[in-house]
């Protein structure tokens, strides 16, 4: 499948246009039915010479609690690469409906730091279409290189679920795994997320998905209230892990229950050390302090 060279896009795709296209595609699907075929697009997309905007970077860093250094936070690079990934999912030959897809998991390898002055080549492709107990899931793999360079500096795998979509030729997943009982530990931090947390992150990440923006826009898409961006939550957890993570690390997050805004979020970060008391890994878990329900969990580990 993904063997060919990526299609090079002339400019960074516009997320708002992609969302509009996706809405139109969803309407078409309703009328014409789903396109046949269960394969993923055989090509990826690439945008070259992407330059981070320093004002936007600073706003992002301040919003998620990172010091405004010249190094791009790993979550910021995700936001830079997101439109490229979205454009792959917007292709006519992409088999799943983009709108309403659920972000299940994200794994990032920050192999070496990227500075805001460095122009970046960003590629994205879809991989590993497979069954999920409640639909079909796949991975969007993005890779970031400094323009003209060979080495991948940043690699992110985002796993999305198309709920209720079962494609022919893809086996059903085995019976659902019961989630383990979660008992909230004592928090190491509590975030007070305001009703505008979604809008604030949309402004710095460019991700204006309506489910994050307001109660009304979220209701239009069938949510009871707006929800926080998953990558906003995960990026704040990454920032909270602090300087121990160093320049290169592996960062993963698994999303469970969405955070409806406004809400307090309890967070626990526990550090795992080597015998020599060097940092090995920080595990984090976040929950709703009122209901005790787990929102997400993950870890940041030395690479």
């Amino acid at each position: 499948m993904n063997t060919g060279q990526p299609i090079i896009l002339g400019e960074m795709p516009s997320l708002s246009k992609l969302y509009v296209n996706a809405a139109a595609a969803a309407a078409r699907r309703r009328i014409l039915g789903s396109p046949a075929g269960a394969g993923l697009p055989s090509v990826g997309h690439e945008v070259r010479g992407v330059q981070a905007d320093v004002g936007n970077l600073t706003a992002y860093q301040h919003l998620i609690g990172e010091t405004a250094s010249d190094v791009l936070p790993a979550g910021f690079i995700h936001a830079l690469a997101f439109p490229v990934a979205m454009s792959v999912m917007n292709r006519d030959d992409f088999p799943l409906p983009l709108l309403g897809m659920i972000h299940l998991r994200n794994v990032v390898e920050q192999r070496s730091p990227v500075r805001f002055t460095e122009p970046l080549d960003i590629t994205a492709r879809a991989e590993a279409l497979r069954a999920h107990r409640s639909g079909t899931q796949l991975d969007l793999v993005a890779e970031v290189r400094v323009s003209g360079g060979e080495a991948v500096r940043w690699r992110g795998i985002s796993t999305y679920l198309a709920k209720g979509v079962f494609l022919p030729g893809i086996d059903k997943a085995s019976a659902s795994v019961r989630p383990e009982d979660f008992k909230a530990p004592d928090p190491t931090a509590v975030w007070q997320l305001g009703v505008d947390a979604g809008r604030a992150y949309a402004a710095v990440s460019g991700d204006f998905n309506p489910i994050h923006l307001s109660v009304l826009s979220a209701k239009a898409l069938g949510m009871r209230r707006s929800i926080a961006h998953g990558m906003y939550l995960a990026s704040r957890a990454l920032a909270d892990v602090g300087a121990a993570k160093g320049d290169s690390f592996r960062w993963d997050v698994t999303f469970e229950a969405p955070v409806f805004l406004p809400a307090p979020v309890g967070l626990d970060i526990s550090t795992v050390q080597t015998d020599g008391a060097a940092w090995l890994r920080s595990d984090y878990v976040a929950w709703n302090p009122r209901s005790g329900r787990k929102h997400f969990s993950g870890s940041v580990a030395a690479l």
Binding site: D186, P187, T188, A189, V190, G242, T271
Partner: protein
């Protein structure tokens, strides 16, 4: 008095000085420095205004007003009118940016010589104690002969910041040159930007208030509600008894109608304290034990301490109550819960005592700042814990036990209140007086230990000795 300019040696020096810069004088100065042992920094005395609960008697008084009031009382008590003091250092935790030179402004508004230099210091709740240690060190080095340390805080007259949105708009407006540009910037304003940003006691990195942090620590060290209420009860009882005995007569100047700390409840009982509802730690797994009774309330107030070399005190015919022997700062990694936010003194005190060849048994007075009853009790519990001693302090076993009969014997912050930066000065002046009254114990000068915890996981501790 230096009336016609400032003498080269300072008003307190009597030595002859050669023409500055001559080779001989430089050589002499160098050998003098090398031969000189550290001097002693002594506490001459102190003065504070009574501490007032927030929204009370000092509601309209600014930090500068209160610091000047405390300073003027000190000046009156020790006859320092028109005196050029070596240096004055003080600070406030809740400080408006216009008060960038708070201490110098207070000096200019006081009866001290206008030629007295001053600087501001800020180390959260340890501010007051750190000014004593820093200035004490300058005296010990011979850089200055006299100093005034202090601190002030107002939770009533706290600075309120505009929201980040409004602040950015105002700053951008200021930079904009043309009207259309200005209008464009103004259009960015949203109604929510007009809501002000009040200061709070939340830790920036965790979002948890100091009380919530302490609730975690209190639960971790299994400190009971009853033990916390007892500590609070003793604080009120001891402070009330000290007022009755006239202990504060030469430590305090009435201000705005107050002559006692307004938080003091001389008639409180253990039953009353036990009836209060918990206010912190209500969402934790363990039982909530921290109430408004066993936590310090927000308070307004100011304190000052006069420090000097022995020679300066003698020349001015002033008392020498106690020597500032040594101090130590520590910090803990509280952000991910390795240690409790307010547990740094549990590490600072063992280091300080070890350096001075002392143990807890050698201390005659313990002044452990009562941020919360749970803070004091968690610290004592850590010191009595075998495992903490071995694994965290690197000792053979537990660090030791504090004789409770020597702890906060004239009351502490739970009763007096805690205007953040003013607490260090309150404790140093009181302890110096207690040590001086005690004199010697078993043929050695009485020893006192001060421990103050601070936001950001910090702590400053100090050792004082009767003079």
């Amino acid at each position: 008095m230096s009336v016609d300019g400032q003498s080269v040696t300072g008003p307190e020096e009597t030595t002859n000085v050669r023409a500055a810069g001559s080779p001989q004088s430089l050589r002499e100065a160098q050998s003098l420095r090398e031969a000189q042992a550290l001097r002693k920094a002594v506490v001459v005395g102190g003065n504070r205004i009574p501490f007032a609960r927030t929204g009370g008697a000092y509601t309209k008084s600014s930090n500068q007003d209160m610091l000047t009031a405390a300073l003027d009382g000190l000046i009156a008590r020790f006859g320092l009118q028109d005196e050029r003091i070596g240096e004055v250092a003080a600070g406030a935790v809740l400080k408006h940016s216009r008060d960038f030179n708070l201490t110098r402004e207070a000096v200019l508004g006081s009866a001290l010589s206008a030629e007295t230099p001053a600087y501001d210091l800020q180390q959260a709740c340890a501010t007051g104690l750190e000014t004593v240690l820093g200035l004490g060190n300058k005296i010990r080095l011979g850089q200055i002969q006299s100093a005034i340390a202090g601190g002030v805080d107002s939770a009533s007259d706290a600075p309120i910041a505009v929201s980040e949105g409004l602040r950015e708009v105002l700053l951008d407006l200021n930079r904009a040159k043309a009207l259309p540009q200005r209008l464009q910037i103004l259009a960015r304003l949203r109604p929510k930007d007009l809501a002000p940003d009040a200061p709070n006691t939340g830790e920036p990195r965790t979002g948890l208030s100091m009380g919530e942090h302490q609730a975690l620590t209190t639960a971790q060290w299994k400190i009971t509600r009853q033990a916390q209420d007892e500590l609070a009860y003793n604080s009120h009882r001891n402070l009330a008894a000290a007022y009755e005995a006239g202990f504060f007569d030469d430590l305090l100047t009435p201000y705005r109608g107050l002559s006692r700390d307004s938080n003091l409840r001389a008639d409180t009982t253990l039953e009353k304290l036990a009836s209060l509802k918990p206010v912190f730690g209500r969402n934790l797994g363990s039982e909530a034990t921290m109430t408004a009774g066993n936590s310090t309330p927000l308070t307004d107030g100011a304190s000052t301490v006069l420090l000097a070399s022995e020679e300066w005190a003698d020349q001015h015919g002033l008392p020498k109550l106690a020597t500032v022997l040594d101090g130590e700062a520590a910090a803990v990694d509280f952000v991910h819960g390795k240690d409790g936010l307010l547990m740094a003194p549990a590490f600072a005190v063992p280091r300080l005592l070890a350096r001075n060849g002392l143990t807890l048994d050698d201390i005659d007075f313990f002044e452990i700042h009562e941020a919360f009853a749970g803070t004091v009790l968690s610290t004592l519990a850590a010191w009595e814990d075998e495992e903490f001693g071995r694994t965290r302090l690197g000792l053979d076993g537990a660090f030791g036990k504090v004789d409770r009969a020597r702890l906060n014997v004239n009351g502490s912050s739970l009763a007096a209140g805690h205007p953040f930066a003013a607490t260090g000065g309150r404790i140093v002046a009181s302890l110096a007086k207690m040590l001086h009254a005690k004199g010697t114990v078993d043929g050695r000068p009485a020893l006192g230990l001060i421990s103050v915890c601070a936001a950001g996981g910090q702590g400053v501790v100090a050792l004082l000795e009767a003079h």
